[in-house]
């Protein structure tokens, strides 16, 4: 099969747009959080400054190969996920590298970064890292379950694993979105979404207050920079997936920005409104509320 080399610059372009969008969005959300808490908040370019600073720093210590690999895995996961999912529906230019695989690839690639991060943090030998990892993994696996169920429900509904095909079916209009044709699946997926965004009430994994911030503690300088980059890309990549599956996808960049912002805001608003869960509480919460929804969606579809 001849490879269309133009896909590479196009994909990089997507990456660039999404990265910047993610950076701004993150800052905006920090700002909103602060305002709700009656604080002033950071300036909107603060993240850029941090990132540039971190990229500029050089580290003199390393804990070993796996230690390097943590951020690498992490960012590969984020970038890969973004590239495996077509960003703009109908646009050859922004369909990225989705020829490599379908929905299932995206679903499983989500784990890639998690695995790598956990491994890398583990290498550091910091006990808090281990605690953070166990909490994180426990919660992520529980949170992913309803999502997987919802995804499968959607696949069942449309009888395909191709993301492009799924978006195509939803183009008929507002009401043809999965949100309305399969509300249970969307509900399950959105609950899962809350968990996987690492925002309150499910952010005990990062636990900035109780313990010295878990895995990232040991990472600094360029390592941290890679992770910050990922924090800009990965949520967006994930939201793209949600958007494509449940909210009709995006046929153009403006729609894309709007929908991504809206979906992101859901998790932010919930996070601002609710207190934090302990991990076993959140696992139970997912099993009690989200999983049954997912199961129902599969059974009823």
């Amino acid at each position: 099969m001849p490879f269309d080399w133009m896909k590479i610059p196009y994909a990089l372009l997507t990456l660039f747009i999404v990265f910047n969008f993610g950076m701004l969005l993150n800052a905006l959300i920090q700002k909103i959080g602060a305002r709700v808490g009656r604080r002033y908040g950071v300036p909107i370019w603060q993240n850029y400054a941090d990132l540039i600073k971190n990229y500029g720093l050089r580290s003199s210590i390393t804990h070993g190969v796996m230690y390097y690999l943590g951020p690498v895995f992490r960012l590969t996961g984020g970038v890969g996920l973004l590239l495996f999912v077509p960003t703009i529906y109908g646009s050859e230019m922004f369909s990225n590298l989705s020829f490599a695989g379908d929905l299932i690839l995206a679903l499983y690639f989500v784990f890639f970064g998690t695995l790598g991060m956990a491994l890398g943090a583990g290498e550091s030998g910091h006990p808090n890292a281990a605690i953070g990892i166990t909490r994180g993994l426990s919660q992520v696996t529980a949170a992913e379950l309803p999502f997987a169920l919802a995804v499968f429900s959607v696949a069942l509904q449309y009888q395909t694993f191709s993301i492009t095909d799924i978006v195509a079916v939803q183009q008929a209009g507002f009401t043809s979105w999965t949100l309305f044709t399969n509300p249970l699946a969307v509900a399950a997926a959105m609950l899962s979404f809350l968990g996987s965004m690492m925002r309150p009430p499910f952010d005990v994994v990062l636990a900035p207050q109780e313990i010295p911030i878990g895995p990232p503690t040991e990472y600094h300088s360029s390592y941290l920079a890679l992770m910050q980059t990922n924090r800009a890309i990965f949520p967006i990549a994930k939201i793209v997936l949600y958007m494509s599956l449940f909210f009709g996808g995006a046929a153009s960049w403006p729609v894309f920005f709007l929908k991504v912002f809206a979906i992101y805001m859901v998790s932010v608003l919930v996070g601002v409104a609710f207190p934090r869960f302990r991990v076993e509480q959140s696992i139970r919460w997912f099993l009690i509320w989200a999983v049954p929804l997912g199961v129902l969606s599969i059974v009823l579809v």
Binding site: M66, T76, G80, L97, P127, Q139, F152, I211, L287, I298
Partner: protein, 1051 residues
Amino acid sequence: MVSALYILAAALGAAFLLGLLREERRGLAYGLTLAALGFMTWVSATWVWAFATTALPPVEIFTAGTPPPFAINLRMGMGEAALTLLVNLVGLASALYLKETLLQLGRRAMAVLLIAIMALAGLILTRDLFNLFVFMELMAISTAGLILLSADSRALGAGFKYLIVSQVVSVLLLIGIIFAYHVTGTLNIDGMAQAPALLATGIGAIAAFLILIALIAELKPFPANGWALDIYESAHPAYGAIFSAASGAAVIFAVDKVLPIGGAAWLPVATGVGIATFLFSNLLALPQTNDRRLLGYSSVGQIGLVLAVVGQRDVLGEAYGFIAFGLLVSNAVAKAGLFWLSGTIEQRGLTAWAVLRQRPLALFAFVTFLCVLVGLPPFPGFYAKWELARLLAGEGRMALLAAILLGTLIEAGYLFRWFGYAIKREPEAAAEGPRMQGAGLATGWNRALPIAAALVAAWGLGFLWGDLSGRGNLLLALPLLFALAFLVLDWLPAWVKNTLAIGGLTGFFLLTWQEYDPLRLIFAAIFLIGGSVILLASYETKGRRIGFYPSAMLMYAGLVMLIRATDAFGFFAAWELLTLGSYFLILRGKHSEPHALSYILFSLGGAFAILAGFALAGQGAVHLPLDGLAKVAEPLAPWVFVLLALGFMTKTASVGVHIWLPGAHAEAETDVSPMVSGILLKAGLYGFLVLLMSMGSQRLHGVELTHVLLWIGALSALVGNLMAVFQEDAKRLLAYSSIGQMGYALFGLALMNHLGWLMAIMFIINHYVYKSMLFLSVGGVAKRTGTRDMYRMGGLVKLMPLSFIAVLIGIIAISGVPPLSGFGGRWITYNALLDSEVRLPIVILFLAGPIAFLYLFRLIHTVFLGQLKDEHRRIKEAPFWIVLPQMIYVAVLLVVAVVPGLVLRHVDNYLDRFFPQGGLEWTGTVISSNYGYWNPISIMVIVGVIFATLFAWLLFVNRRAQPVKQFNIVFSGERPFRPETTHFAWNFFAPYRKALGFLTTPLATRFWEGITDLLHNAGDLVRRLYTGNGQTYAYHLLAFVVAVYLIRLGA
């Protein structure tokens, strides 16, 4: 040929002649005794030979020159010849064994021995009822005499108890005989059986009852058999051998010939009494701790089994002799051998047999006898059991078959537990004072010889029965012979044997690979080539490694024969062989004794379910080709399906019958764990494939059985994974993970669609590769660190980088994260799911998926990452031979990840035969289904490029960074409450346990423990019946008589 009467005459003549010798001439007397027994044996042997080689009809022997029924007549036929040969041989061997005792006690003891053997021969030969009574009295009295050979003072009491019982028996028998005579006017057994008047009259019926019940009472039926057990326990082992092997055989033959007197109505009675005895004896044997008493229970049980078979002779037809004799000689040879062996062991506890470990040959004899007794291939009992099951099922007597199999299972339970003690336990505190070598062992050539003879006889009879079975002799099967050859070659150094083994496996594959269809080829490749790769790791073990290669090769032989089997018999035989081989392998582990036991029990239970399933499917047909399963008709088919599936589930360790697996796999040796996990488990899946290919889906009471399998598969996946998450022991973790993986594969098969099967195949291949790899890796780590507890390890990545890479790759592969081969499995899974109608089990499967990720992560994290333990600072990488196969696997995983089509494509095409719809499209590097697509090479490239770019950049940027030592930081967050809990890896997923721990309640373990406890307690309770009071035994006997009578009245 000499008249059979010379057997009797020689014994009597010699016995009387002994009286002429002076007491001092004991050597001469002993010689005379041996000569007489030798002559008797020779006479029997010539008859056996004559009957076997020529079509000689049975010979009638008249006495007093008068034809029957007016004079006593004897008969010599094949059965008589064989049995007298057995009796005489056992007598001869025991006489040899008893040399010291006989020389010490003098000619009187020798005379009693001679007459005892003579009485048994007479019991077999005579056709006259009263003559039978006389021989029985002779047997009883000589028994009472021979008990005295024992040095055990309690034997005297046992003898008296026996006399009491035999008095009651003879009263009943005499009354029965005289009234039977009154009604029929004859004492000839055949004449009486043919006399129509006997059963027509009330008197005749009662007379027949008394005769038969008296004879049956001599067979030690439950519960009227306490006396026999006391004899077994206290008698000299050589007499134990006669009592079990010869007396039992003779009396059962007597019952067999007298049974026609009672007519058809007595057959069910014999069966009922027999099977009750079989079941209860085995149950009661469970709590025994005295070896001879245990053997006694087993003997009583075995004779009960033969009695049950005798009662089934109306349906067994021509196979009756084959079956009954098969069981009889199995018991005879094994019991004689075991009793003789017990005479070489000084203490009576079961663990005392551990002294056998000093003598490999004796140990080999021990295990041979146990296998003979349980009826494992290639011994006669195995063939007999197969035929019995076939015919019983053909007649719809499934309840009886179930009872027989249950009893056998219990028997296997205590016998193999005993074997485990012998292999693993330390003998009880040795007798006081320093002992020279061979402590607790008493041997001489005259004791070794009979044992050796029994050993040879066991194998010889196995060969003979294989020959007679008309099913292909297992002892001629090349793979089995290859495995057995390692018994002979066991003196060679391990590396030579290892090379031979690898050569044999690969050679056999190269010779035969063209014979298999793609599905079988995959299994053949895993079993043979895969087996060879794992065997590479065995080069690591130095020395001779006695016992390893025969066991391992036995397992491989079974596996090969399994895929080469075309009919049910071959399949089942192979199944038992591989079970046996793997049991020995597992038992080799340091602490594996209880686990090996539960493994063999579950496996045998499963094997018996398979046996019952095949028997039911065959409906009595002589040959049942495997594809003949497809022709099984409706009301039976679902039951056949259930039984077979149950059997296969024990091997794949599906949830509910999984409890044997974790221990067995975890405790096995480093190179054995991958064998029993990566390879052996596939046998069960192969069974499922065969089952589903031929029978398809079945409905039972409206329930789709494959749907049930789906649930079981999904639950296994969930439970296996969840249990794995909470293990502290690395190998246990992997073991539980196998349960989950097998659950996935089973799930795939049960989907009953194209992709489902493809998924299962993918899992089979993947699981072999990564589980073998992980077990080797973890095994290597355990070898270096000396522990398997993960919380005792950590930070090994720098010290054992190759092992780490293997684990890392394995983990990515198992968890299904792209780009490695596990993802392909997941992708096919999803497509298969979309293709099927099921919904709910999918949910369970989904739940299991992320959990797999958890335990795998824990494995790699806690072993290789985190803090390095102080005591592990100087650890080296795992030995070369253990790392080598791992690296091969890594390569394989990478290749399979990039070009899965290499194998899958062929299987995919082949599966079109079964499921024409829903296959995959293979266009270029893209693999697509009806629902989606996947391009393994692209994924690999994309991920690789991004990954490499970032990694290179990071390395470049931080090129001057220096590695720092890890340091200890105080704990926070988790409160230590036990020493090991201060380690962060302890209770790694604590929140998960808090949330989901209830799912891991060991329900199945509790259930099976409950069952075993119940059996034990029941056995313990019931055996209180045997108070040891001779009078009570008389009560039992009378109660037995009255009960049987009342039951017969009621029926």
